[in-house]
């Protein structure tokens, strides 16, 4: 197969490509035969139950987990340190880290450490860049505050500023809505859409929250050990239902009750 793959509809290049990827932990398959393409400029949402392999899939893309079988391509090449630098990663907000003694500015500066290089401290110039990144997410007024005292929504905005520091082509978000109230969520996804529109950044996000994914993603797949594309007939939705459901709320209901493959494999899994 030629690399990178091209989306036949939009003519966009594939930036992440997984071919027949298998991952096992302790002899149990958590990902089976994953075929996945994310094309430039799209927001790709992956839903699935907890324990369905969502975070593992992200870890494969990020190079944190090596698949037992199958191939991964980032931006058309084998993943390496340089291709990973084109990725901005937002992990789940973890409450364990909330007491870590850093300021908002410190957190964003971390995103610039690789550019600053070894043996050197962040200088004035780096701080100016970090302040500019903070202003993009409307958090520049909080630069000197301890990160720990921010709300979940504010922390998420700071994290996205840090992820943007390396000027990524792809943002990867793990459960971006966790710990954020609905108003802050709306702001957050607006920001995401802005980055996509202004800078052509692609986004891959995973969540167990179907509502969030379906209302903010261009393309949706559901993952429970195997990956099922919602835009493919007979996979998750029946074609008949899929035609009816382009309204966001309806999709949620359909996913819950009629997403036969998800539902069945979830039962198998338990």
């Amino acid at each position: 197969m030629k690399h990178p793959a091209i989306d036949p509809e939009t003519n966009q290049e594939s930036i992440v490509e997984l071919n027949d990827v298998w991952v096992a932990y302790d002899g149990i398959w958590v990902l089976k035969s994953i075929y996945f393409n994310c094309y430039a400029g799209e927001i790709f949402g992956i839903v699935g139950p907890n324990g369905g392999g969502k975070t593992t899939l992200l870890n494969v893309i990020l190079g944190l987990v090596h698949p037992q079988k199958g191939s991964v391509r980032l931006f058309g090449n084998k993943p390496d340190k340089n291709s990973r630098l084109e990725i901005g990663y937002l992990p789940q907000i973890s409450h364990a880290d909330r007491s870590f003694p850093v300021t908002v500015l410190d957190v964003v500066l971390m995103g610039l450490y690789n550019r600053i290089g070894l043996f050197r401290k962040p200088d004035r110039h780096s701080k100016d860049i970090a302040m500019e990144l903070l202003s993009h997410v409307n958090m520049d007024g909080h630069a000197k505050r301890p990160f720990a005292v921010l709300s979940g929504g504010q922390q998420q905005r700071v994290n996205i500023a840090r992820a943007m520091a390396s000027k990524p082509k792809l943002l990867i978000l793990d459960e971006p809505s966790t710990g954020i109230d609905s108003v802050a969520q709306e702001d957050f996804y607006e920001l995401l859409a802005k980055f996509r529109n202004d800078q052509g950044i692609s986004v891959i996000m995973v969540s167990h929250d179907i509502g969030v994914i379906t209302s903010h993603a261009n393309r949706v797949a559901c993952l429970n050990v195997q990956l099922h594309y919602h835009d493919e007939p007979d996979s998750c939705f029946s074609t008949e239902i899929a035609k009816k459901v382009f309204g966001e709320d309806l999709r949620v209901i359909v996913h819950d009750s009629k997403c036969a493959t998800c539902f069945r494999s979830h039962q198998d899994h338990d």
Partner: protein, 283 residues
């Protein structure tokens, strides 16, 4: 006249302090204590942030195996202890990464193994001329000029290398996975931290003791973290707490004729509880 009479206890105290420093062992102990306080405080900053307290305990105890090996072979226990502690520390880090073994389990295996080897080595030697009790609990009289040089060189190395990798170490402590994706050499930094942990334990064992040193790998950072939310002030406070603990502990142990290592740890613990109280009140 009366002012002079009132000041007499102060003069007396100053005189006793001067007397104290007229002993070479006390000067050596003080100098060693100050240098170690500095080194342990900086290392404890990372130990606390990365939740490595139990690794510190395990690595410290593993040095005992090295001390006993040195005694058996008739060579300086410092070097064999460095070998033991560095190997065990990195082995805990390496094996603890395996899926089926948690770091906690790895420590639980290596800590008693190194101690067991120590006991076997002692059993194998028909006589031992090394003060093992001193190594376990610290001995204020034991610090020689040569020890001071070892502490200065290795302690300086630990501090200098930590300064070089400081921002990278901070990033990995804050968020390992994001640090990896951002191009930080995560595995190297893990083993670097384990190695400086081992070195700082070994240079501390003569004065503070193998069993007690793990307290100073935790308490300065833990106490500082109770009262500040900035890493730069946390390090500064951690150093201050370690220096006050070691200096104060040595002075108290001299006047009250108490064991030095234990007194230092007891004082550090009191400071921790005060900091904890202050932190709770400010919450």
């Amino acid at each position: 006249m009366s002012t002079i009479r009132n000041a007499q206890p102060v003069f007396a105290a100053i005189k006793t302090m001067i007397d104290m420093f007229s002993f070479e062992f006390m000067r050596n102990a003080f100098l060693a204590g100050m240098m170690l306080g500095f080194v342990l405080a900086v290392v404890s900053f990372f130990v606390v942030l990365r939740r490595m307290s139990f690794i510190g305990v395990g690595v410290a105890h593993s040095a005992f195996g090295g001390v006993a090996l040195g005694a058996l072979l008739g060579i300086s226990p410092t070097w064999t202890a460095i070998g033991f502690a560095v190997v065990v520390s990195n082995a805990i880090g390496y094996i603890g990464k395996e899926e089926r073994i948690s770091t906690d389990t790895a420590i639980g295996i290596f800590f008693p193994l190194a101690m067991a080897l120590g006991v076997i080595f002692i059993g194998m030697s028909d006589h031992y001329n090394v003060d093992l009790f001193g190594y376990l609990f610290g001995n204020i009289l034991a610090i020689t000029r040569q020890d001071l040089i070892v502490i200065a060189v290795l302690g300086g190395l630990v501090l200098l290398s930590t300064k070089i990798f400081f921002k990278e170490l901070l990033f990995v402590a804050y968020d390992r996975e994001v640090a990896f994706v951002s191009g930080m050499p995560v595995t190297f930094l893990d083993h670097f931290l384990l190695t400086i942990l081992a070195l700082s334990v070994v240079i501390s064992m003569k004065i503070i003791g193998i069993i007690l040193v793990s307290a100073l790998l935790v308490i300065p950072g833990a106490a500082a973290s109770q009262v500040t939310r900035r890493y730069d002030s946390m390090i500064a406070l951690s150093i201050l707490i370690a220096l006050v603990s070691t200096a104060g502990g040595l002075v108290i142990s001299y006047f009250a004729n108490l064991p030095s290592g234990a007194t230092i740890v007891a004082l550090a613990s009191i400071i921790f509880f005060i900091a904890f109280g202050v932190g709770q009140v400010r919450k």
